[in-house]
């Protein structure tokens, strides 16, 4: 144990990314980040350290993004949506929110995606992805600002850096510390049933902190501990910080902070109920025990008690893991915490009314409405295909193909799927070839065209499409095996060797490239 401690201590020394580690953990078992904040979060010292931009860091990120070195797993997955009036409007909201940031600003760019999920997201390069699903459901510009402010805050607070660094750290450590940490958590965790639902809480946060704090800071971080508890603690802390800073930015930009409640309620509705595992297990056990008592079956009652003790322990551990695995607090808990923060720190501003005119004006403007309807029709076509209703899907896609967005990747890709379902393969291909702006396409759309060219033996066309994908998605890794295949088809030995060398740099792709090279040989 001592040896591990020394080793871990050496590895962890000078590790700035673990600063605040124990506070992050406390966020899981103690009082929330929001309730601990004094004053406006944007003015806190932990935020002020991010006011100054590091030009080297910004430069490095730019190089990754523009230089095709984005890892395949981090490349954008969705197709983008091009509705200029909407794009300008959303970017305008980001600009207005940015004015509330006291420091230097990184590049922040809004991109609309063809997803019908609700929540936006941000990547490390300052891209803020806004799904159509969000725009279909929000009620006001203030609500949009609440969510964009949250995403901007992830970028402003460098949350992606910590996530990436943590990922690296995770790989270095062993499972020794997990036994200590998990045992402490398990021993000090109680179940609160007073509100009618199961809630886990720490019975001794200070004592837990002392044990866990030391373990975490100076010993090895175990994968199982980090996956079940640690990374979740970080994740939750970061989400709370983004909620706080996003709210501050909203208020400084003159938006109504009550709109954050609207978006969190919608998010809660979207995500659905997530019942704890333990509730179901305990209910079943309780019913079985009551049943056996009523029948005076002591044997059965004793057996049920046995099951409760033995299986209950396993279920508790599993339920604990599941609880901790959720990277966000429940949306309604976040909402409650934010409202209390607003009442404490912004008693006047929380009264401001939401502007219900500005967003409908944009949403209902003809160019935007027609474009969004086109995407909705394509979405309905996909939903119909999922239910095997091909004629219905055909009707919807015909409407989408009559809209201003007919030649965008999502629409043509859906049309491709419908034609395939109809057995009209030649027409299916024509749909893909009708895509005008490939910079909007996501990896799966590129994949269809690249595979088609490779199957046909058209290496030149495949390479041209792969080059487009690399440029627009910023990732050389994504289609490197396909690049090798295409180079082989062109019988360009020099290019094959060059691609093979590059492929060797990508552990997830290396083995496949080598297999392909051997087959050809």
């Amino acid at each position: 144990m001592k040896g591990y401690l020394l080793l871990a201590s050496a590895l962890l020394s000078g590790c700035a990314t673990l600063k605040g580690a124990d506070q992050a953990f406390l966020n899981l078992v103690g009082s929330s980040t929001q309730s601990q904040v004094q004053g406006h979060y944007v003015d806190n010292s932990e935020v002020r350290q991010y006011y100054k931009l590091d030009p080297q860091r910004a430069g490095q990120q730019r190089l990754s993004y523009d230089g095709r070195t984005v890892p395949a797993a981090e490349a954008r997955q969705q197709n983008l949506v091009d509705i200029p009036m909407l794009q300008v409007y959303l970017q305008g909201i980001v600009t207005r929110l940015s004015k509330g940031w006291p420091g230097e600003l990184p590049l922040l760019q809004v991109k609309i995606t063809d997803s019908y999920s609700f929540g936006p997201s941000a990547d490390p390069y300052g891209n803020i992805f806004v799904p159509l699903g969000m725009l279909e459901n929000v009620g006001s510009e203030d609500e949009i600002a609440a969510m964009l402010g949250h995403e901007m805050s992830h970028v402003l607070l460098h949350h992606h850096d910590r996530a990436a660094a943590f990922q690296q750290q995770k790989e270095m450590f062993t499972t020794v510390a997990s036994t200590v940490a998990l045992a402490t958590v398990a021993a000090n965790t109680g179940v609160d049933r007073s509100s009618g639902t199961m809630k886990l809480f720490s019975k001794d946060p200070a004592g837990t902190q002392k044990t866990i704090g030391n373990t975490v800071l100076y010993t090895s971080l175990a994968n199982s501990f980090s996956d079940n508890v640690w990374s979740t603690a970080w994740g939750r802390s970061q989400e709370d910080q983004a909620d706080l800073l996003g709210t501050d930015l909203m208020i400084r930009a003159g938006y109504a902070p009550r709109a954050a409640t609207h978006s969190l309620e919608r998010l809660n509705d979207f995500q659905g109920k997530q019942k704890p595992l333990l509730t179901g297990f305990l209910t079943a056990r309780k019913n079985a025990m009551q049943d056996s008592l009523q029948q005076f079956n002591l044997d059965r009652f004793t057996k049920e008690l046995d099951v409760l003790v033995k299986d209950g322990l396993n279920t508790t551990i599993s339920a604990t893991s599941q609880y901790f695995n959720r990277s966000h607090m429940s949306a309604l808990d976040r909402d409650t915490e934010l409202r209390q923060y607003l009442q404490r720190e912004y008693p006047k501003e929380r009264r401001v009314r939401v502007n219900k005119q500005s967003w409908p004006k944009v949403r209902d403007a003809a160019p935007v409405a027609k474009a969004m309807q086109g995407y909705k029709d394509a979405y309905a076509a996909t939903a119909a295909l999922a239910k095997n209703k091909v004629p219905e899907a055909d009707a919807f896609i015909r409407r989408a193909l009559g809209s201003p967005v007919k030649d965008q990747p999502n629409i043509r890709r859906t049309a491709y799927a419908v034609r395939l379902a109809q057995g009209r393969n030649a027409e299916a291909l024509k749909e893909l070839q009708a895509i005008k702006d490939w910079s909007l396409a996501g990896p799966s759309t590129y994949d269809l065209m690249i595979s088609y060219y490779l199957k046909r033996g058209d290496g030149k066309a495949a390479l041209a499409m792969i080059d487009k994908a690399e440029r627009n998605l910023g990732s050389e890794e994504l289609f490197i095996t396909e690049k090798l295949l295409a180079s082989q088809q062109l019988q360009n030995a020099q290019q094959v060797q060059s691609v093979l060398r590059k492929c060797g740099q990508y552990p997830a792709r290396k083995a496949n490239c080598q297999k392909l090279a051997q087959v050809k040989a």
């Binding site: 997955q77 999920s117 929540g119 997201s121 992805f129 992606h160 919608r266 509705d269 999922a386």
Partner: protein, 121 residues
């Protein structure tokens, strides 16, 4: 004539009908503000003095986000920002559980940090 009457009656009572299906599940603010029908502050009630059981919403003003309820025998307007209302006033047209399977799973890339935990479908 009958049709017009039906439409008028529906318009008159729709807010009331809507309000009948809502309750205040929890008082979140401390203190809770009592306002007039325009949302102007009149007085405050300490959270400990608010009812513990759900309170029926008598009327809902969606424009000003106010609800009319009866507290201690008096009809008062409250601001929804101080309250947890059930069912919630802001919902989705399509919760993720009803999305086509192929679209429900998060197709977000692994480098992004999102607004919520994702679909639990």
């Amino acid at each position: 004539m009958n049709r017009i009457l039906i439409v008028l009656l529906a318009a008159l009572y729709s807010q009331g009908v809507l309000a009948e299906t809502h309750v205040i599940k929890e008082f979140l603010a401390d203190p809770v503000e009592v306002v007039d029908e325009q949302g102007k502050l009149q007085r405050e009630i300490a959270r400990k003095d608010t009812p513990k059981q759900p309170v029926q919403v008598l009327q809902l003003n969606t424009d000003l986000e106010l609800v009319l309820v009866e507290l201690a025998g008096q009809k008062v307007w409250l601001d929804t920002r101080d309250l947890r209302i059930e069912p919630p006033l802001n919902v989705m047209s399509l919760p993720c559980q009803q999305m086509p399977q192929s679209l429900a799973s998060d197709t977000h890339n692994k480098s992004t940090l999102g607004y919520g935990a994702g679909c639990s479908q």
